[in-house]
C-alpha cells in the first residue's frame, strides 16, 4: 500500500489491548496515564463488544502536564484508585501524551507505593503511536509477568497465553484441559470478568469476579510450559523461557483440524497427559461436521480479515474444509502471518492473497479483484460485505452489530464446528436455492 492516508483501519491502539489484558486479572484495575479520551474510548469499545461495563481509571492529563509532566496526576490517580477500590493490582497503560512528555512511569509508580504495600503496580509502556492493540496486549502481559512472576516449587501446570480472544474461546480451552485432566494458568482470563451474570437481587461485586489470580501470575514461572493461543501475545512466553526456563510453544491458534491437533499434542507433550477418548470424539465430531457440509462449501471463495493469529488459522481451516481462501488481511504485522498462509497456499494449491499492515480500503479492492462469496471478520466488514452482496460471518474484536458472538468459541474442535456451521449457514442463507435444501 503506497498511500499515506489510512482508510478504514481494522486495528486499534496499544492502550485498548493493554486494558483487555489487565481486565483478565482478578482485582486488577487498569489505569490509563493520559488524556480522558484514552480511557473512555476503549471502555466504550469493550462495552459494545462484550455488553459489559469496563471500569478503567485515567490520570486525566491536561495542559499543565504537557509543561510540567504528568507525575502529579499519576501519583494522585494511584492514591485514589487504591483508597477507593483497594485493588490487588493497578495496571498502568501509557499513551501518546505521557510517552511524548517523557514521564518515568516506573519511577512514579515505585514512589507511589509505601514499603509493605500489598498492592502492586504494573507499569506497561503502551504508546499509541507504536504497534496496535495486539502489541499493547503483549506489552501489558509481559510487564505483568516481569513484575510478578517468581521462581518457586514446580506446579505441574501449563500456562495458556490467550491474547485478544473471547470468553467463549477461553471456556472452550478450559473445557479441553479439564477433559485432559491438565491443570493450567490462563494469562490472562476474561472469561468471567467480561461475561458476568446478573446475580440475585442485582448484587454486584465492586470489581468483577473471576480472572487470573495475581498469585497464579507469580506461579507462572513454575509451570511445565507455556502455550500461546495467539502468538502476537507471545513475548511473555519468551520472557518466561529466558528467565525461568519454562518451555515455550508458539504455535498457530487452535482453529481447524491440524492446528487443534497440534495444540492437543502440545498439551499432551508438555504435561505428559494422554489424549483421552473424549477429545478424540470431539475431533471426530469436527470431522463429521466438515464431511456433512463439504458439498456446500467446496471451492467457496472466502476473504478473511482481522488479527493475524485468528486470520491465518481460519485460512487454514477454510482450506481444510475445501473452501478457497482468496484474501487474508491483517493490519497488525507479525512475522508468522505470511509464512502461515504461504504454507496453506502450497499444501492446498490455493492462491490466498496476503495483505499485511494495510487497511480495509485495500482489502476491499483485493476482494473485488480476487472474489469472495463470504467474508469472515469483525463488524467493520459489514459495509464491504453489503457492497459485495455477500454474507459476513462475524468473528474477532469488536463485534457490536450482533449479540452473543463473544459467548461462543471458534477455538478448539468444538469452536471450529461452530465456526464452520456459521460459515455454511451464511452461504445457505444467502441466495442458496431452497429446493436443494430439502435433502
Amino acid at each position: 500500500m503506497a498511500r499515506s492516508v489510512t482508510i478504514n483501519p481494522p486495528k486499534m491502539c496499544q492502550p485498548m489491548g493493554a486494558i483487555l489484558a489487565y481486565m483478565g486479572v482478578h482485582g486488577c484495575v487498569p489505569l490509563v496515564h493520559g488524556s480522558q479520551g484514552c480511557s473512555t474510548y476503549p471502555r466504550y469499545n469493550i462495552a459494545r463488544h462484550f455488553r459489559e461495563s469496563a471500569e478503567v481509571a485515567v490520570s486525566s492529563l491536561a495542559e499543565d502536564a504537557a509543561i510540567y509532566g504528568g507525575a502529579k496526576n499519576l501519583t494522585e490517580a494511584i492514591k485514589n484508585v487504591k483508597s477507593r477500590l483497594n485493588p490487588a493490582l493497578i495496571g498502568i497503560c501509557t499513551t501518546c501524551m505521557s510517552e511524548t512528555i517523557g514521564d518515568d512511569v516506573k519511577l512514579i509508580a515505585k514512589n507511589a507505593l509505601v514499603p509493605g504495600d500489598a498492592m502492586k503496580i504494573i507499569p506497561a509502556s503502551t504508546p499509541s503511536y507504536v504497534g496496535t492493540h495486539l502489541t499493547g496486549y503483549d506489552n501489558a502481559l509481559r510487564t505483568l509477568l516481569e513484575t510478578l512472576a517468581a521462581k518457586g516449587e514446580p506446579n505441574n501446570k501449563i500456562n495458556i497465553i490467550t491474547g485478544v480472544i473471547n470468553p467463549g474461546d477461553i471456556r472452550e480451552i478450559k473445557n479441553m484441559l479439564r477433559i485432559m485432566n491438565v491443570k493450567s494458568i490462563f494469562l490472562t482470563d476474561i472469561s468471567e470478568t467480561l461475561d458476568t451474570p446478573i446475580m440475585p437481587g442485582g448484587h454486584k461485586p465492586l470489581l468483577p469476579d473471576g480472572g487470573t489470580l495475581p498469585s497464579e501470575i507469580v506461579d507462572s514461572a513454575n509451570s511445565l510450559g507455556t502455550i500461546t493461543l495467539c502468538r502476537t501475545a507471545g513475548s511473555a512466553a519468551v520472557y518466561l523461557k529466558n528467565k525461568f526456563n519454562v518451555p515455550a510453544v508458539l504455535d498457530p491458534a487452535p482453529i481447524g483440524v491440524v492446528n487443534t491437533d497440534r495444540f492437543v499434542q502440545n498439551i499432551s507433550k508438555l504435561s505428559g497427559a494422554p489424549i483421552p477418548d473424549e477429545i478424540i470424539r470431539e475431533r471426530g465430531r469436527l470431522i463429521d461436521s466438515m464431511v456433512d457440509v463439504h458439498h456446500y462449501m467446496f471451492g467457496r471463495k472466502v476473504a478473511i480479515f482481522g488479527d493475524p493469529d485468528i486470520v491465518s488459522a481460519i485460512v487454514r481451516f477454510a482450506a481444510e474444509a475445501g473452501m478457497n481462501p482468496t484474501v487474508a488481511m491483517t493490519a497488525t504485522r507479525h512475522k508468522d502471518f505470511a509464512p502461515d498462509i504461504k504454507a496453506v497456499n502450497s499444501e492446498y494449491s490455493v492462491d490466498t492473497q496476503i495483505l499485511e499492515g494495510t487497511d480495509l480500503y485495500e482489502f476491499h479492492k483485493v476482494v473485488k479483484t480476487h472474489g469472495a462469496e463470504l467474508i469472515v471478520g469483525n463488524s467493520k466488514g459489514k459495509d464491504i460485505a453489503d457492497d459485495e452482496n455477500v454474507p459476513l460471518v462475524r468473528v474477532g474484536f469488536p463485534v457490536y452489530d450482533r449479540v452473543g458472538v463473544y459467548r461462543y468459541p471458534i477455538i478448539g474442535y468444538n469452536g471450529s464446528i461452530y465456526l464452520l456451521d456459521q460459515m455454511t449457514n451464511a452461504i445457505l442463507g444467502h441466495k442458496y436455492d431452497p429446493n436443494k435444501l430439502h435433502q
Binding site: T6, P9, Q36, Y41, A47, S60, A77, N80, K204
Partner: protein
C-alpha cells in the same frame, strides 16, 4: 449544607462540592467545569471527542481526517449515531496513522499527502476536516500552514481543528473549538443563492438517530425556511450561508450556543433557546418561532395536527409509567431538556448528572427540579453505582458505558446518547421515547433478577 459526600468518595473529599441536594431557598450549584480528580473513574472524554465526535463529525460530505495515531480515528469511526443521507462521514475512517517516526520527525508531510490522497480517492468530499490529536499538539505540527497549502493544491476547503485531547477539562472545550473554527473559517464565506424573510438555522441539532428529520419538517410546515442545521445531516455548503438567517434557534445549548452568539455578535442575528423534546416544550418552541416570524397561526395549526396525532399515544404510555422515578445522566443539556417531558409521562427525575455541564446547565436543572433532588457534576462510576443502589430508580437514562453496570444491578436503562430506537425529538420522537421507557420498565425480564431459591438454597416445589 446541601453538598453531599457519598460513601465511595470518603477518600476523595474534593468531590463533595460536585454533588448537591436541592433545597429551595438555599440553592447551591454543583462545582463544575474544572479538572477531574485523577483516578476517580470519571466518565469524561476528551476535547478531540467533543470536536470530532459531536460537532464536526455529522457534516456528511466532509472527509473527516484524524491527524494522529490510529486509536483516535478508530474510536470515532461510525460510533456516534449522527445519521445522514450520505455514507461518507460514517462509512469511512481517515487517519494519518502517525507512528514513532512521525513523532520524532514531525507528521507534516504525511498529513499533506493524506489530505491530497483522500481527496483524490473521494472526490465526493466537499471539504476536508483535519482534527489534531494529543501527540500533534506536543510535536508541534503546523497544521494551519499544511491545511492552507493542501487547500490551494486540491481546490476545496481544508479546515484544521486544534482539538488536542489534553486541552481543557472535558469534551466541552472541543465543542467550543469546533464552533469557533467553523465560524471563523467557514461562516460567511459564501452567500445563499436566495434569501427569504423566513430563513432560520437550527443550531445544536446533530440528527442523533434521525432527530433532525423529525424537527426540521415541523418548522417547514409552519412556513419557515430552514437555511441550515448545525450540524446534523449538514452538507459542508450549508455552513457558509448561516450568517444570512433571520433567526437562529439553539437546541444543544452546551455544545453550540457559541456559534449562535458569534453570529449574533458579528451579524446581529438573534437566537432563541429551544427544547425540542416532549410535547409541551416542542410546542413552545414552535410558538416562539411563530411569534418571531409572525407565523403564529401556522404554528398553532402544526401543533394541533401533531397533538391530534400523537397525544393519544403519549396518554397511553402515561398510564403505564405514571409514578415512576428516574435518573438522568447525560453530557449536559439533555439532563435538563428531559425533566419536563418525563413529567408529561408521570415520571419524576430524582437525580440528574452531567459529564461536562457548566454553571448555566446546572441553573437550568435546578430551576426545574423538586426539593431533595440530587445533582452530580462529572459523576464517576462508583458514585453512579452507589446512587443506583441507594435510591433504586425505576430506570436510568445514561450512555453506553453505564448501560451494563445498570443492568447488573437489575435496573432498566435507556441509552440517552444514541437512543434505543429513536428518534426521540419532536412530538413523534417523544412517542418513541415513551415507548422505549415502557419497554425498559415493563419488560418481564426484570422479575427474574430475584430467584425463588435465594435464601433457602433449594427451589420451592409446588
Amino acid at each position: 449544607m446541601t453538598t453531599i459526600l457519598p460513601e465511595c468518595d470518603i477518600p476523595i473529599p474534593q468531590r463533595r462540592p460536585h454533588i448537591v441536594c436541592h433545597e429551595p431557598g438555599n440553592m447551591v450549584l454543583p462545582l463544575c467545569n474544572i479538572q477531574t480528580v485523577p483516578g476517580d473513574m470519571t466518565e469524561r472524554g476528551c476535547t478531540f471527542a467533543g470536536c470530532r465526535g459531536v460537532v464536526g463529525g455529522p457534516v456528511k460530505d466532509a472527509i473527516q481526517l484524524v491527524h494522529g495515531p490510529i486509536g483516535c480515528a478508530y474510536y470515532t469511526w461510525g460510533t456516534r449515531r449522527n445519521l445522514s443521507d450520505m455514507k461518507l462521514h460514517r462509512k469511512y475512517c481517515f487517519s494519518t496513522d502517525l507512528t514513532e517516526e512521525s513523532v520524532i520527525y514531525g507528521g507534516a508531510k504525511k498529513l499533506l499527502n493524506s489530505i491530497i490522497e483522500a481527496h483524490e480517492l473521494f472526490p465526493e468530499g466537499k471539504a476536508v476536516f483535519v482534527y489534531s490529536t494529543c501527540v500533534v499538539g506536543l510535536i508541534g505540527d503546523d497544521t494551519e500552514a499544511i491545511c492552507k497549502q493542501a487547500s490551494e493544491k486540491i481546490g476545496i476547503p481544508v479546515v484544521p481543528f486544534h482539538c488536542e485531547g489534553f486541552r481543557g477539562v472535558s469534551q466541552s472545550l472541543g465543542h467550543h473549538i469546533a464552533n469557533r473554527t467553523l465560524f471563523e473559517k467557514v461562516v460567511g464565506t459564501e452567500e445563499p443563492e436566495t434569501t427569504t424573510p423566513y430563513d432560520m438555522c437550527i443550531i445544536g441539532e446533530f440528527n442523533i438517530d434521525g432527530d433532525a428529520w423529525i424537527v426540521k419538517p415541523l418548522f417547514e410546515r409552519m412556513g419557515v425556511r430552514v437555511l441550515s442545521v448545525f450540524t446534523g445531516n449538514a452538507s459542508f455548503s450549508d455552513i457558509p450561508p448561516m450568517h444570512r438567517a433571520k433567526l437562529n434557534i439553539v437546541q444543544c445549548q452546551r455544545s453550540s450556543t457559541y456559534i449562535a452568539k458569534m453570529i449574533n455578535d458579528k451579524y446581529g442575528i438573534p437566537y432563541i433557546n429551544v427544547s425540542l423534546f416532549g410535547m409541551k416544550q416542542t410546542a413552545e418552541a414552535l410558538r416562539d418561532v411563530g411569534k418571531f416570524f409572525h407565523l403564529e397561526e401556522n404554528a398553532e395549526k402544526v401543533i394541533a395536527e401533531e397533538l391530534a396525532r400523537y397525544q393519544p399515544e403519549i396518554d397511553h404510555y402515561r398510564k403505564r409509567l405514571d409514578g415512576k422515578k428516574c435518573f438522568i445522566y447525560q453530557g449536559a443539556p439533555r439532563a435538563w431538556h428531559w425533566i419536563e417531558p418525563m413529567r408529561e409521562l408521570g415520571i419524576e427525575t430524582i437525580l440528574t448528572a452531567t459529564t461536562f455541564g457548566h454553571k448555566d446547565d446546572y441553573e437550568k436543572i435546578m430551576s426545574k427540579v423538586k426539593p431533595g433532588h440530587i445533582c452530580i457534576d462529572n459523576p464517576n462510576a462508583l458514585e453512579i453505582e452507589e446512587y443506583l443502589v441507594k435510591l433504586k430508580p425505576d430506570f436510568f437514562i445514561g450512555g453506553l458505558k453505564e448501560k451494563y453496570l445498570t443492568y447488573k444491578l437489575g435496573i432498566p436503562f435507556i441509552n440517552g446518547h444514541s437512543y434505543e430506537e429513536g428518534p426521540y425529538a419532536g412530538f413523534e420522537g417523544f412517542v418513541n421515547f415513551a415507548r422505549d421507557i415502557d419497554v425498559a420498565v415493563n419488560s418481564p425480564v426484570w422479575k427474574f433478577v430475584q430467584t425463588p431459591y435465594l435464601n433457602t438454597g433449594t427451589m420451592e416445589v409446588s
